[in-house]
């Protein structure tokens, strides 16, 4: 339990990369990448979590109440936006790749020319 969420994060990173490496469909690849990305959300929020702390919103509770770290919340918010926008851009590229190569299989995108 002491390190369980950190291990979950490490697992998600590796399994996500496994998906990226073995994927035969670009849309699948991109979704796997977003799983790998989600490991960072978990890691960030885990290191800022304080047992017994409330959410850092002091509307109904007075300032001074034990609360979790607001900074990791802000960082993760940014991280989620980054992940989503990169995925959107990648999906657009995948649509393009399908148009040019007639396939979403990374193995069929052709080899590098002239080496």
């Amino acid at each position: 339990m002491r390190h369980l969420p950190y291990m979950v994060a490490a697992w998600l990173l590796l399994i996500g990369l496994y998906g990226v490496v073995t994927s035969r469909n670009l849309v699948h690849t991109i979704t796997c990448l977003s799983v790998a990305q989600s490991s960072t959300y978990i890691l960030l929020l885990s290191v800022g979590f304080e047992r017994g702390g409330t959410a850092p919103i002091f509307l109904d509770v007075p300032v001074g109440t034990k609360a979790v770290d607001p900074v990791v919340g802000a960082l993760t918010l940014t991280d989620i936006v980054v992940g989503a926008t990169v995925s959107a851009l990648l999906l657009a590229l995948a649509v393009q790749a399908d148009k040019h190569h007639g396939s979403l299989d990374p193995e069929r995108l052709g080899k590098a020319q002239d080496d």
Partner: protein, 254 residues
């Protein structure tokens, strides 16, 4: 590498990398123990200094507001990129659009779905606006509310009124919303400079914590972010949507 060889090489390397990760991660404080000073200090001082009840909002839009400016422009760049990629392609393949043709409707929309979708539209838009405007008081803010608002536009699509979506949020309008939001963030930053303070300084009156009009520039930044995110996400969905519908040939859709 062949796929089989690649999988094997990956598994070996990932085992080593994973072991290293675990080794390093166990050097962290135990889960549930927060060591650092940053968050504690902000939890102590932010409400008094910024009159924002939601400290995450104070961090996002004030203490670390420059991060959020970068984040907004990441979204901006991605939307631009998607637009460039897909628009260039559309120009190559687009059939002359026929606004009223039946094949431009989403497939298989029943009247029941249509009614439910339209009935939900009002509450969704209201909820989105609420989330955007109360970001400094409660969970939520420009980003979350913006996505909710974009979902509203999607409901219009789901209810089969795709033609309406074309009229409600044509590219021009969403482009404009998105770039106004993005430019607005920088402009708020420059207001701080103009007032003789630093870039992104919170120079507006702070008010009292818990009030709708409080926390200075934080709700203003929430508004511009909401505008940008709503415009940006509608545009993202719209670009993919447009692709789908333009390619579809008559007769394929019933």
């Amino acid at each position: 590498m062949t796929p089989a060889l690649r999988r094997r090489v990956f598994l070996v390397a990932a085992a080593v990398a994973g072991a290293l990760l675990v080794w390093g991660l166990t050097g962290l404080p135990d889960y549930g123990v927060y060591a650092g000073p940053y968050g504690d200090v902000l939890n102590q001082v932010a409400v008094a200094e910024r009159k924002a009840a939601n400290v995450v909002a104070a961090v996002t839009f004030d203490y670390r507001g420059i991060d959020t400016m970068g984040e907004e422009f990441i979204l901006f760049a991605a939307v631009l990129g998607v637009a460039i990629l897909l628009r260039a392609q559309r120009d190559e393949t687009e059939q002359p659009p026929d606004e009223d043709a039946a094949d431009r409707h989403a497939p298989g929309t029943s009247n029941a779905v249509r009614v439910v979708g339209l009935a939900l539209l009002g509450p969704v838009v209201l909820f989105g606006i609420y989330v955007v405007t109360h970001g400094h008081l409660s969970p939520g803010g420009g980003f979350q509310g913006g996505v909710v608002l974009a979902t509203g536009a999607l409901l219009v699509y789901l209810s089969g009124e795709y033609v309406t979506l074309r009229r409600v949020s044509p590219e021009l309008l969403t482009d404009l919303a998105e770039s106004t939001g993005a430019a607005g963030y920088v402009a708020v930053g420059l207001v701080g400079v103009a007032a003789g303070a630093t870039f992104l300084a919170n120079v507006l009156p702070l008010g009292q914590p818990g009030m709708l009009l409080s926390a200075g520039t934080i709700p203003v930044l929430n508004l511009v972010v909401g505008l940008e995110v709503a415009g940006g996400f509608v545009l993202l969905l719209y670009e993919f949507l447009e692709q789908t519908l333009v390619i579809r040939r008559p007769g394929e859709v019933t």
